[in-house]
């Protein structure tokens, strides 16, 4: 086997050094009652070339761009990724390294993460960001746990227009805490109804997503203001950070924590994972932040360098009093996003966000002129909700045969939104593809 370097002679000589007869003797400390009764029942090893065939065959059964024209978003987005990013990310010095515990041998990762923390802070309008969490959903759960740690209060308020899966993950993370979770309804225009929040007692944190699950831009400033007036911390979540290349960022609108999914910036869709949990806040909360942080320092000769820092918050030092149990995070995905942001730059980000917005508006307008109702009137970024005539399910199925995937059915998450579908448009959709979709839906 090409991954195992030992020759029979190597093994014989090493066994002699160890002072035993056979490889089986290595397990003298494993009691017979703990051992398997049967050998591993796994398929016989495949050669590299057989593996290629097997995996290509599996991959070929999956509907993916560009063969299919996909209008799905809902927390996972198709964007172009420059080949330079993919190529740089495959550098094995990044790929095959561990968490940078030994700074002298990890300056590449450390500087790259420090830059990532900086770019994310700038994008979100916050002072600091951590080195990453797993995904947008767990980032939101961690953010709300952090608000409870800081405020010592036991009620969490979350908008019903936050991604349904994120809300489920928050509930799971909180399931053993006994904290109360209150959900706010959404208004007719697609934004969160904040009225119940006024005067609410004992609230640790309030979370809105903007753009929200319907693609709508929330009244973030107002929500932040009300949250602060009831003594709560305010969290802005997101699943599409590209929106901040056009719309106001969370920080400028009063968010105490901004967190969400970074997949849309340079990370392949990969059936939903790995993504990237972005997490940013202000310096005054630094001791409560979950996850790793990279800080600037100097070596003994005075040369600039970077280290993991403030580890006294973390599980391996603080044990059960740690701010989170996270250890392995999403470093390589954070690097991908940093490379992507560096490739876009300020100018490119603005142009790309604008292009996403304009294309989405094009499809919205086309649906409107074709006589379909855009369900929510609030401004959106690259997703929006269309109300189709009853029975659209059948047409949706039919379109799959034509290799068009016409969005996600919302009734699955919101039974009251029957006949409503969430559609997504990014820079990867062409006008021609959008025209075709509208034509097919009309027919």
């Amino acid at each position: 086997m090409r991954y195992l370097p030992h020759t029979e002679e190597d093994i014989a000589s090493m066994l002699e050094t160890v002072g035993i007869e056979s490889l089986e003797d290595l397990y003298s400390t494993v009691p017979a009652a703990c051992r398997r009764s049967t050998p591993l029942n796994l398929p016989e090893p495949l050669s590299e070339w057989e593996l290629d065939n097997r995996m290509s065959a599996l991959a070929a059964t999956i509907a993916a761009s560009p063969e299919y024209t996909v209008f799905l978003g809902a927390g996972n987005y198709e964007h172009f990724i420059p080949e330079s990013v993919r190529y740089l990310l495959s550098r094995s010095e990044f790929v095959t390294a561990y968490t940078p515990y030994q700074p002298e041998l990890s300056q590449g990762t450390l500087q790259a993460i420090y830059e990532y923390q900086t770019l994310v802070s700038r994008l979100l309008g916050m002072e600091i960001a951590n080195a990453s969490l797993y995904d947008g959903a767990s980032a939101l759960a961690e953010a709300l746990l952090m608000t409870a740690r800081i405020t010592h209060k036991e009620k969490i308020v979350i908008s019903g227009a936050v991604h349904p899966a994120y809300r489920q993950v928050v509930r799971t993370y909180f399931s053993s805490t006994g904290y109360e979770i209150v959900e706010l309804p959404y208004l007719e225009d697609g934004r969160t109804d904040l009225s119940a929040l006024h005067g609410m007692q004992d609230v640790a944190g309030v979370a809105l997503q903007s753009p929200n699950f319907f693609g709508c831009i929330e009244g973030v400033s107002q929500a932040a203001e009300i949250s602060h007036s009831v003594g709560a911390l305010f969290v802005t979540a997101f699943s599409e950070p590209l929106a901040y290349g056009l719309y106001k960022n969370p920080g400028i609108q009063g968010a105490d924590i901004a967190c969400g999914e970074g997949q849309s910036m340079g990370i392949p869709q990969s059936f939903g994972g790995p993504g990237l949990g972005m997490f940013a806040t202000f310096m005054k909360h630094v001791r409560s932040i979950p996850g790793r942080l990279v800080g600037l320092s100097r070596d003994v000769t005075g040369k600039r360098g970077f280290v993991l820092t403030l580890a006294t918050r973390e599980q391996h030092i603080r044990r059960e009093k740690a701010t989170s149990n996270i250890c392995t995070n999403g470093s390589l995905c954070a690097l991908a996003t940093a490379m992507y942001m560096a490739s876009l730059g300020r100018t490119g980000l603005g142009e790309l966000a604008r292009l996403n917005f304009d294309k989405t508006e094009y499809l919205k307008a086309a649906f409107r002129s074709a006589g379909f109702r855009i369900r929510f009137s609030s401004p959106t970024f690259n997703e929006f909700v269309v109300e189709f005539p009853p029975g659209f399910d059948t047409l949706h199925e039919h379109l799959l045969e034509k290799k068009i995937i016409a969005g996600t059915r919302l009734a699955r998450y919101y039974p009251e939104l029957e006949n409503c579908w969430l559609l997504c448009v990014t820079e990867t959709r062409t006008r021609e593809q959008m025209d075709r979709l509208v034509r097919e839906v009309q027919s």
Binding site: Y3, H6, S13, V18, V30, P31, R36, P39, P45, E48, L51, L58, A59, I62, A63, A64, N76, E78, L88, F94, T96, A97, E104, Q107, G108, T109, A112, Y114, I128, Y134, G136, A137, S138, T172, S176, I252, P268, F271, G272, P274, L293, D299, V300, T301, G305, T309, H316, R319, N325, L332, C333, G345, R346, L352, L355, D358, E361, P379, L400, I405
Partner: protein
Amino acid sequence: MNQFPGASGLIFDEPLLWEKGANGRRGMSLPPRDVDFALPDEALVGELPDLPDLSEMDVVRHYTRLSQWNFGVDQGMYPLGSCTMKYNPKTNEKQAGLQGFAAAHPLLPDSLSQGALKLIHDLERFLAEITCMDAVSLQPAAGAQGELTGMLIIYAYHKSRNSKRTKIIVPDTAHGTNPASAALCGFQPVNVKSGEKGILTPEVIARVMDESVAGIMVTNPNTLGLFEEHIIEISEIVHEKGGLVYCDGANMNAIMGIADSAKMGIDIQHLNLHKTFSTPHGSGGPGSGPVCVGKHLEPFLPVPRILFEEGLYRLSEEFPQSIGKLHAFYGNFGVLVKAYSYILSMGPLLQRASQLAVLNANYIKELLKDVFHLPYDRPCMHECVFTDKEQHEQKISTLEIAKRLMDYGFHPPTIYFPLVVSGAIMIEPTESESKETLDSFVQAMKTIAQEAKDHPELLREAPTKTKVKRMDETAAARHPCLTG
């Protein structure tokens, strides 16, 4: 020092991203604009963030230079204990990058994602076979999230039996994340000490086990690299009082094809695909921490679960006792593809991989035990733990030994962990390293031990060949500067 891989070459300095570039440059191509400008609501429009404008070449050179300041498994031996830094096969990267996998949207209809669902289903079955457990969830995104999943399952299990338990037993040889994972779930960790042989004794567990204890978190093999020989008796004690046994399977690389978790009385076990199953660590993630359970705990696994019915794979959320979701979708699918490729490439030879990993660790242990203090001189599993006791006389500590190894071209072992041993040097060579490499590593360690006697300043000044010298970590923590 010719026989050692550590050498110096030309290293490039590289500024921070925003110290280079020029306004108006761009490193990414955008598609042509085929629609008109629309009118965004001016009140909502914000300032553009201050990102540097760089050309594609600026970006490529930046990250290429940064990468050269790093050390990965592909460059040299990385004997980081408990981290299993084995070789990461290149073909696995290729498979995960196939368009069908890399461009798959997670909300595709089941009928259009059968290949992805089959892969998840088959990988679950493989991991069940390897651990001898009944059911598996691949959703946890890393080992620590697997631990959290396990703790939530224990919580849900007791709740379903109307039992309110508040404590979890965590031995001193368990993984570092364990107490934090238990605490996150509201359990109070009860620390217990391992016995003289470095393993748990049933008596110690019997003393703390009662009806207020929800379960135990055992790492087996433990973080001293020793197999918990009394695991069956311990499980019986815990079960007798109604508790559950959680096994941190981060050290599974020692016992694939050897041990049977079900026979050991384990109820829940997590695995680290980024350790045992060769997916790369990626400078600290993404990982994957599947959770394997016995039949009695299957109803509590996270949703969605994957079902195979009438020749079709489908996702189902219809498990009312489930703890819920840990991830927005199905976990780190891209990582799963790599682990699946690895298992298909290895098949039953996984057992051989474990045997060779254990052989390599015992070989190093035998060759170094005359030079470094070995607190537990017993057959080890996949890793061995030394200390700096022999070097105390020269006032040399584990940290200096670790830093000096860098000059010889080796990544240091895990140091100062486990906490149960003072000044621990925890070496896990993995099966990937050849005898020649191990011999060279042993020679470097022996040379360092000799230097500690003759030229201790060489250790105190180490490393000397790296991009930066010893870093000031105290200053970094005292005046944190986390962004530029």
